[in-house]
Amino acid sequence: MSTKNATIELDKVVIKFAGDSGDGMQLTGTQFTDTSALLGNDLATFPDFPAEIRAPQGTVAGVSGFQVHIGNTEINTPGDVADVLIAMNPAALKANKNWIKDGGTIIVNIDSFGKRDIEKAGYENNPLEDGSFEGYNLIQAPITSLTREVLKDSGLDGKSIVRSKNMFALGIVYWMFSRPMEQTENFLKKKFAKKPEIVEANIKVLHAGYNFAETIEALPSSYTILKADIEKGTYRNIMGNQATAWGFIAAAEKAGKELFLGSYPITPASDILHELAKHKNLGVKTFQAEDEIAAICSAIGASFAGALAITTTSGPGLALKGEALGLAMITELPLIVVNVQRGGPSTGLPTKTEQSDLFQALYGRNGESPIVVIAASTPGNCFDWAYEASRIALEHNTPVVLLSDGYLGNGAEPWKIKSVKDMQDITPLIAKEGEDYQPYARSDEKLARKHAIPGTVGLEHRLGGLEKDNLTGDVSYDPENHETMCRIRAEKVEKIAGFIPKQKVFGEKKGDVLVVGWGGTYGHLYSSVKELRLYGKDISLTHFNYINPLPENTADIFKNFKTIVVCEINKGQFVNYLRMKLPEFKYVQFNRVQGLPFKTTELKEHFNTLLS
């Protein structure tokens, strides 16, 4: 299709699509992502939603963005700044002005730069004319008017015509980066199967954008990004929340259990509920409860009745679930609570990312109430950590909090498809008919009790939130027994350290600086450390997924470094946890709390100041 001569190969590129929240930028970005994934690029994405569903049109508050980073090498972050920005209006330009690479390419829809549009965005003068973007490759494309022109004989109404302008923008970017359009064409055919006129219109506009880019001289050349050298196998694109949902589906199948989700809608966790609700065909039961408390309680009930039971939420929801989580802890029932963290405190920043619920997960309950806390660290490995959370919960009969975050949940990356048959076995700790059952008898190895599922002949017993006798599980107010039970419940969680892998180090096992992270910051920390190591710097990374208990070899890793820097998107929760757990080490910390992921540039700058 293309006749261009100069196609320049790039290693990686960051593209940001930005527009009004009704402009279809998430869809445009997702299409570019899927097409690039099919071409074999490695990639990472990060959508950036406004908190309001439809904030006033044309205002900065209403800007919705989608950033994608594609490359022919390993890509671990969505990129700090964009090489190419597509801004559908002045507000989108304004909202992203600090996130474009110096000298980068900016494509604006010039049709939406009228006087009123400019004022609405809060600009006094037209930023395209006052020199604000001097030094950038500014492409002023009449996207709306050309879309109208293309579709003038389509018979569609004006609104539908204008709505397809995002395809024009996508067409431009497809040409710029030498992407084929078939994937998007197929997508449109499927999505609008019942509206062939819409399919035809969108495809027409897509091609018009592509041809426009090829024709105008504003673009000096087109670029391509070759296939990344990634592990062999079958891949698909996956979003973090989807991966979490699928991890649970896999775990339920492996454990021979039904999956039950009790949930209450909350940003940014609701997509896990949406995803699981689609899979009734796999026996998945989802229950949208009346509130966060009912959500976790229904899951506790389902767990008691023998299901693999989970509840999904975000920070404020976890706060509401605290008491019930304590009940699951004292009754020692398997339960997974997924917290897709967002900016806090209180309602905070619902659509932004943060790691500030770690203390809440570890300590947010009354009484001595230790539970397992683990964290996912990439969109794709949300699958593995959901699976692992299920394994621990079912094999040790304990609640597990799985921490994800808005960045992981909404982010996407290629995922090497796994097969349930290759995954680690899950053997639930269940009492069987005919067994001499004592509800609180435990094995020495795990200190875990067995659960007897209602319906099992002869194993009738009572559980409850009152303190339990150490063996029978009967209510006990005995002082010594209470102390014993508090000790056992803590030791039971600690013993799980013997059933998890050792903590790993990226880089040398001994040296100057050890970067320590946990959860969703992995991509940024890894990229930063990797780049500094390419320059010969003596820096390593150890990134935690198991938070409570910590892996057994944690101290052995820490003792071999001069400086330990703990990096988090909060005011220092993991670092203070480490100060308590492993007080023999001195820790320095690097924290940001802006509702945004780290930037690799700021990390590298900081690490350089620590390197001797």
Binding site: E290, F304, K421, L463
Partner: protein, 340 residues
């Protein structure tokens, strides 16, 4: 219902080894005994019963039943019971609660369980007071009563539990006093047989903090004249001599005496528990002393799809028409690509 129990169960089979610790004279003892006598009359295996409770005096109930039981947290038992029933619809789930547990801290879960019509039985022990926390007023306490938490007399109005349940869309409501052991067994069995959420309000006496609060209904001298036992399809008759009845006069209920003013049995209202419209059931539920006798027995029992049946049907339908039958098929669906 599951297949028939292989051997006849007795009260003893439902009695746990735990010492019962309610106050001497508490109405809860009679409720417990009635339950232990009622269950063996059902054609159900013992291991399929689950008793779920929240917090309060009443909520200790599961400890005394030799069935699967779960004493949970304050107000949340309906949500936990819902999870149990959805996870395994073959279980017979009973939720034991009190007026504080169900109507104050657990009000939200109470109305939503009823709205969904999940097939559980809710036994609400209404003693119009907080017992376990030692005597504060509850959402059903009568206006004006003096309690520890308002010694000057409370100024708010009580909930009528059955009225609240009707407003939430209840398909089954019944009421019974703890002084009528036989009556309790009958309504418990009716509740269990009903598909959907069954609410049984038990007028339960707290001997310590609110003794004889129902004395004007349950007292030996007044009980015949102040309680009306409803039977579906039967005229609404009450009174020691069975000579009193209820008629509908315009839009209002009225008490009448058979034989006076030309009233015969034929003039009395016939109780129709199966009527979908809630208006009459609401009026019957609201009857109160001294103007009216209090309605006992099954006030309402209407058929409606239960939440658990609905979920089960959807699951089965989806499994039959499924595009994917395993996790692996799901993971490989849609756009994938091969890296060689």
């Amino acid at each position: 219902m599951s297949e028939a129990a292989t051997q006849q169960l007795t009260k003893k089979d439902f009695t746990s080894d735990q010492e019962v610790r309610w106050c001497p004279g508490c109405g809860d003892y009679a409720i417990l005994r009635s339950m232990q006598k009622a269950l063996p009359q059902l054609d159900e295996k013992k291991e399929n019963y689950v008793f779920i409770a929240g917090i309060g005096c009443s909520s200790r109930f599961p400890y005394y039943m030799d069935t699967f039981g779960f004493h949970t947290i304050h107000g949340r038992a309906p949500a936990i019971a819902t999870g149990v029933k959805l996870a395994n619809p073959d279980l017979q789930v009973w939720q034991i609660t009190g007026d504080g547990d169900a109507l104050a801290i657990g009000g939200n879960h109470f109305i939503h369980a009823i709205r969904r019509n999940i097939d559980i039985n809710i036994l609400l022990f209404n003693n119009e007071i907080y017992g376990l926390t030692k005597g504060q007023f509850s959402p059903t306490s009568q206006t004006g009563i003096k309690t520890k938490s308002n010694p000057h007399g409370i100024t708010d109005s009580p909930f009528i539990p059955t009225q609240l349940a009707l407003g939430a869309g209840a398909t089954f409501i019944a009421r019974i006093p703890d002084t009528n052991p036989k009556g309790m067994q009958i309504v418990f069995l009716d509740a269990e047989k009903h598909r959907g959420t069954s609410l049984v309000e038990i007028l339960q006496n707290c001997v310590i903090f609110n003794d004889k609060t129902f004395g004007d209904v349950t007292g030996k001298d007044v009980k015949h004249d102040m309680q009306l036992y409803l039977e579906h399809g039967k005229p609404m008759i009450y009174g020691k001599e069975s000579d009193k009845g209820i008629i509908l006069n315009g839009l209002k209920l009225e008490t009448v005496t058979i034989g006076e003013n030309g009233i015969t049995e034929d003039d009395l209202l016939i109780h129709d528990a199966h009527e979908p419209d809630i208006c009459l059931h609401m009026m019957i539920a609201n009857m109160n002393v001294p103007e009216f006798p209090v309605a006992m027995g099954v006030i309402r029992a209407v058929k409606k799809l239960t939440f658990d049946e609905g979920m089960k049907a959807q699951l089965e339908e989806n499994i039959q028409t499924a595009k994917f039958r395993s996790s692996d098929e799901l993971f490989n669906s849609g756009d994938t690509w091969e890296v060689k």
